[in-house]
């Protein structure tokens, strides 16, 4: 299909404190129906969105951290994390959730589509995108 566009969702806000992270996630979930090539990028406080071990039982909020783990089922092919932001926020890839992806027809599988990249690589991914949605 020639009209497939590359969509990039750029996430730069922490989860739970504001509505940005959840709104972005909802748009990705809804937009998945449109058969575009969808990637997500996590920069600045956005890297906190992927921190595993979230427990909202004491704060009476919806825990949407597990929802990121189904994004592969929604056709999201790449989730890029900014190495610089990750380090500045005291985190490593081990602190982040893993998201599996599988092509249901070819049965091609990727165990984890969460990928930590440096600034140059991220700039390239942004440059290649047809549309960048910022949250």
């Amino acid at each position: 299909m020639s009209d497939v566009k590359k969509f990039m969702y750029l996430n730069r806000r922490a989860p739970y404190g504001t509505i940005y992270a959840w709104e972005s996630l909802e748009v990705v979930l809804i937009g998945a129906a449109f058969d575009q090539e969808v990637s997500l990028m996590f920069v600045d406080d956005g890297v906190f969105q992927l921190v595993k071990g979230s427990d909202t039982s004491e704060s009476d909020m919806k825990n949407f951290t597990p929802t990121y783990r189904t994004l592969g089922d929604y056709g999201v092919r790449h989730m890029y994390v900014d190495k610089t932001s990750l380090e500045a926020h005291g985190l490593t890839q081990d602190d982040l959730i893993e998201v599996a992806w599988e092509d249901w027809e070819s049965e091609e599988e990727v165990d984890n589509i969460v990928e930590v990249l440096d600034s140059e690589e991220l700039a390239e991914k942004l440059g290649e995108s047809d549309v960048v949605f910022s949250f």
Binding site: P15, V51, S54, G90
Partner: protein, 101 residues
């Protein structure tokens, strides 16, 4: 008696924590809530804000820390974990509350 400063913004995104510390006097308490809890994490680019502040007592709300998946062993030394009842105790044991948003 001193004031209680609450900070609810990420220290990576806003200078609320930095300025709350700057304006708080010796003996004041700072309570980190919502996205403010990230200020209590050790080993980050902004850990020094809390780690190097002397004469102030730092607290962090457990429910907000847990919601963000940040475990207690990541806290800067000396930061005290409080629950909602502890939040209330802090409010009543200080002159007044200043919310730094």
């Amino acid at each position: 008696m001193a004031d209680l400063y609450t900070v609810n913004k990420s220290p990576f995104e806003k200078n609320s924590l930095e300025n709350a510390i700057r304006f708080s006097g010796e003996g004041a308490s700072v309570l980190l809530i919502e996205d403010g809890v990230y200020g209590a994490m050790a080993g980050t680019a902004v850990s020094d804000l809390v780690a190097s502040a002397t004469g102030r007592k730092f607290h962090v709300l457990r429910a907000d820390l847990k919601a963000r998946g940040i475990s207690e062993d990541r806290l800067i030394d000396g930061v005290e974990l409080v629950d909602y009842a502890g939040f209330v105790d802090l409010v009543v044991s200080h002159d007044k509350v200043q919310a730094w948003l």
